[in-house]
């Protein structure tokens, strides 16, 4: 496809729209907090090799162990966040865990969008039998609460980062397909779609030029902001013991390792605080960042509330 839009004037109106959005975002303290948090995590993720140099660069996601005994050891000069059950270094785990979180979020959102957009646009645009089939498939997926189906898939696919991502993707695409289908059904009614058809536009042309550009924007936002809940779901899988392999740098995994050390002996109940508080804080902050941003975005982008 040619890129006919090189003229800078061309971007002006879109730019204005973005500028408006950004302005609204900046005026809301909650979204500002969200942006800051996510930016901080992004920096941590990017700088992971510097912040926590891996012992074996070919397998950077393996948390180094210092011994085999199960009792966690408190923060020390060697392990600044201490070690968790099995002597896994918490600091290394949370730093590289930020990367894992971004990878899970981005890959899952990307893959679910791809699936969701294909299925949703076919379903919404063509309607009829194929729509019926696709919607029944999504019904089947929806018939399970998300976590439950993800558990089933993850168990079946075996224990690896890939299968966690695949399992969550398989669970989340129907949502996107449904949202897109609904939006397409609306856009399809628009006269400009009919106009394009009478101009002789092919289905592919109409879908890519008219329907998707008008229907997909909200979906993109919704999907991007889902990264938080996707990471949460992945962590839940890890907690149920179905997630990534043991020793993989993943926050959910760290919390799972800490689950039995929440309360120390009665005379020192906070003895193992570092095992659960640090990974817990990381995951909470990360998800919180996305949700704060998401909440602000929804507020601004909702055309019904948006006032210009």
């Amino acid at each position: 496809m040619v890129m006919p839009y090189l003229s800078s004037r061309k971007f002006e109106p879109r730019l204005r729209e973005i500028r408006f959005t950004v302005k609204r975002l900046r005026s809301s303290p909650l979204s500002l907090a969200g942006i800051t948090i996510i930016a901080a995590f992004a920096i941590i993720a990017v700088l992971a090799p510097v912040l926590a140099p891996p012992a074996d660069p070919s397998r950077p996601f393996n948390i180094p162990r210092d011994g085999f005994s199960s009792e966690p050891r408190p923060p020390s000069r060697e392990h600044i966040f201490g070690t968790t059950e099995g002597q896994y270094d918490i600091y290394y785990g949370v730093i590289w865990g930020s990367r894992t979180a971004f990878v899970i979020g981005i890959v899952v959102v990307g893959a679910s969008l791809l699936l969701g957009i294909s299925a949703g646009s076919i379903s919404g645009y063509y309607g009829g039998r194929i729509d019926n089939i696709i919607m029944r498939i999504t019904d089947i997926v929806f018939a399970f609460p998300g976590l439950i189906l993800a558990v089933a898939f993850a168990v079946a696919l075996g224990r690896s980062m890939e299968s966690v991502m695949l399992a969550i993707t398989l669970v989340s695409w129907p949502t996107y397909a449904r949202i897109l289908r609904g939006d397409i059904l609306q856009v399809k009614q628009e006269t400009y779609v009919e106009a394009s058809k009478t101009l002789g536009g092919s289905d592919y042309w109409i879908i890519t030029r008219h329907i998707l550009p008008n229907a997909i924007y909200p979906l993109f936002i919704v999907a991007t902001l889902d990264i938080g809940s996707i990471v949460l779901l992945a962590a839940a899988l890890s907690f149920l013991g179905i997630g990534v392999p043991l020793g993989y740098a993943d926050w959910g995994q760290l919390i799972n390792l800490a689950r039995n050390w929440v309360v120390g002996p009665p005379h020192d109940p906070l003895k193992y605080w570092y095992t659960w508080a640090i990974p817990g804080a990381f995951i909470l902050l990360f998800v919180l960042g996305w949700n704060l941003l998401g909440d602000a975005f929804r507020d601004i982008l909702d055309p019904k509330i948006r006032r210009r």
């Binding site: 303290p29 929806f142 949460l232 149920l240 013991g241 109940p269 929804r298 019904k304």
Partner: protein, 346 residues
């Protein structure tokens, strides 16, 4: 219209059938990813039982082709036999009947609190948009929404059962209460402890059961309430921006009246839809909550079954979830049509 409505309901109910077919086929396909020996592992819990793995595979037909296994299962189901739930050593249907009341009891408390709190907070936040109270409620709700359920649950357990020496214990009943409930003097009407306790006139059992419900309910509410609050807030904002509301305020009606009479009802529509989502969210929520709090309901049963590849149980639960899902959606749609007559059932 009534004929239309009836045929709509019938159609929606008939839709359950293909969904159930799909669900069962999906599960069977997922199961096929496993080697027969892996599936036999359900029956082999210690090394000494492993010697006879061949016999177990043969006995349960685990190595038969998928369609044969499927039709065997299907014909049993059509005869009303959902199979044997190995993880809890009883028939699947029995297991459902046994564990459902616990989950029902949990949702009985969690769902209304979530809905009422969500609506209330959402309204508050919308009315005071961009004021301190808006930010505060939203921040709190978002923090709840961002909290990993299992983390929150463990924290609560640690605080209220660990530090405060058994203030809000896990499980469903304390030992004394469960002995009494088992004793035969206590008639089990519903299996829902709090209701049965009231029906039996045993206030102390009611209180005991309630104490055990506090933490799981709190967990579910904290995590779910944000969703409802957000939707309520945005639809409320939308409603407040509408012409008639502005007009009503211009007439001099005070804000409270306007909200209650004009904006509130319209803002309820998306909340009705969301209640459907809430059911699904609750079901997901109870899986983790019940696991952590040792609260023996269907969610706990499911996790156990799934992690041990107990296929009849997973299928049984899925079918239950699917039926629940379809019925919930039907109810929501009807409610929707009732709230807003403009919406046609198509």
């Amino acid at each position: 219209m009534s004929g239309d409505l009836r045929s709509y309901i019938i159609r929606r109910l008939l839709m359950v059938i293909p969904v159930l077919f799909g669900v069962s086929i999906l599960i069977f396909s997922v199961v096929q990813l496993f080697n027969p020996i892996e599936r036999a592992a359900l029956f082999i819990r210690s090394e000494r039982e492993a010697a006879n793995v061949e016999g177990i595979i043969r006995k349960y037909g685990l190595d038969q082709p998928i369609h044969i296994q499927y039709f065997t299962w299907l014909s049993e189901v059509l005869r009303g036999n959902l199979g044997w739930s190995k993880v809890v050593s009883k028939p699947v249907l029995d297991a459902l009947v046994t564990f459902l009341p616990a989950t029902a009891e949990l949702t009985l408390y969690a769902a209304p609190i979530t809905i009422l709190l969500g609506i209330y907070l959402g309204k508050k936040a919308a009315v005071h948009k961009d004021k301190a109270i808006d930010h505060a409620t939203r921040t709190l709700a978002i923090i709840g929404w961002s909290m990993p359920t299992f983390w929150l649950a463990i924290m609560l357990l640690a605080i209220f059962y660990g530090y405060f020496g058994g203030l809000f214990p896990p499980d469903r009943l304390s030992v004394e209460a469960s002995i009494y409930v088992q004793s035969g003097k206590f008639i089990r009407y519903t299996g829902i402890n709090t209701i049965d306790a009231l029906l039996n006139g045993q206030l102390w059992i009611f209180v005991d059961a309630l104490r055990h419900l506090v933490l799981p309910t709190l967990t579910l509410v904290v995590v779910q309430v944000a969703l409802l609050m957000r939707v309520m807030r945005s639809s409320m904002l939308e409603a407040l921006g509408q012409g008639y509301v502005v007009a009503a305020r211009a007439k001099g009606l005070d804000l409270k009246t306007v909200i209650d009479k004009h904006a509130g009802r319209n803002a309820m529509i998306p909340v009705a839809t969301l209640s459907g989502l809430l059911v699904s969210g609750m079901l997901s929520g109870v899986v983790i909550t019940e696991t952590v709090f040792n609260y023996k309901g269907v969610g706990w049963w499911f996790v156990r079954a799934a992690s041990q590849l107990d296929i009849p149980s997973v299928l049984g639960f899925s079918i239950f979830a699917a039926v629940l899902f379809v019925i919930t959606n039907l109810v929501v749609d009807l409610l929707y049509a009732y709230i807003d007559p403009r919406i046609r059932l198509t």
